[in-house]
Point group: C2
Chain length 225, copies 2
Amino acid sequence: MKLQLQMKMNEALYLRNPESSELGKSILKHSVQLIYKAGFEAFTFKKLAEEIGTTEAGIYRYFENKHKLLVYLTAWYWGWLEFQISFQTNNIEDPVVKLKRIIMLLASAVEDDQQTNHIDESLLHQIVIAEGSKAYLTKQVGEDNKQHFFKPYKELCAVISRVISECSPSYKYPKSLASTIVEMAHFQTFFMNNLPSLTDFSTKKEESEIISFLNDLVFTSLMKS
Amino acid sequence: MKLQLQMKMNEALYLRNPESSELGKSILKHSVQLIYKAGFEAFTFKKLAEEIGTTEAGIYRYFENKHKLLVYLTAWYWGWLEFQISFQTNNIEDPVVKLKRIIMLLASAVEDDQQTNHIDESLLHQIVIAEGSKAYLTKQVGEDNKQHFFKPYKELCAVISRVISECSPSYKYPKSLASTIVEMAHFQTFFMNNLPSLTDFSTKKEESEIISFLNDLVFTSLMKS
DNA sequence: TATTAAATGATAGTAATACTATTATAAATA
DNA sequence: TATTTATAATAGTATTACTATCATTTAATA
């Protein structure tokens, strides 16, 4: 039995629900591939339409513009990741073990999980590393936030900060530490691959080194307080 | 006596040196103001030209495109900040005191220093917080890096990582910790102002709280190892 | 089965963006 | 005075980021 889990996405992110039709799913699938390949700046709805074999206007029926599409994809990713984390850490009692597992999941390359056929999570992970911050580093953060576009990201951080507080109830910065490890899991990966002198990770490009760094960072902070 | 210190910028960043003429300086000054006001996405050379009272073609004689201009401005900022740090921590023997001072400088709002009349460092600091990552989160990072566009940023991180190693020679991740505190000084500020639930900082929006967070993060890591 | 609605395809058009090129003029310098 | 240098003025192109219209296919429903 193969069960499909559908994420309930914020309806303000799209004009027509892309999960509800073939063209919609094709838009999601190919936008991930094209943004991955060309980068978000060079990505246009025209090119996407050509790739899919539809027209620009066709894409615009689903997404207002490419910024909304990026926000949609990143929100999808954070929702998906939160589910992965809740699934993989379910029934783990010890919050320390739990937090270690979370750090591992944050900093590990994702393998495409087949469950959700139309989105390649592995590519999407790469996109979120390289383009994800652009979803909120804009002049419209405020309005976008009011419309709850970043809820999945904030929820993930909230989940992590709760585990941090379980590990160490007296620690004073659980939320900031949570957003720090989420961001750094990505940034250190990006730096390792592109600006390696900003990291201590060898040319082997081992993600295990990033995991060790984050574990060290987090647990020395928590053990002390 | 008022001494002007000129930063030597990477020549591949511009077509004509903007520091060498009035129009050039005006471009720098007004681009900082306009990017701050409109955000980098909405910023165009046309609008900039109108603001300055010159033509689009006039801007293009100085900068190839707006990406190069952003890279120029961020590089300028990191160079300027490294100088501020080296100046303000000069003659401090104790590396712990030094590192604390650095963290303070990283996370404090900048006040325009008058020394360099044409660039408003305070606005530029805000720009680097909100747009700075876009300088390297692109498909061309590799090439840009080969042309040493990110040297000032990497040098600043290198300086900080050396102080970290002085504080604790056995600490295994001085470079990653350095890039982490630089990035987090900015991201936590951005989050505090725009997505506050990602932080533990009160509505007072006190930068001193961010400084405390970073100090805690860094010094528990270093004391332990 | 016929009717109708929903989704898509095809085409066209507009305003703004991101440039390049050319020519004229003013100011600085040799 | 001749000449280089910087800038202004104007024009033009390809691409981007959309919006609008209408025809056609597909699917749902009466």
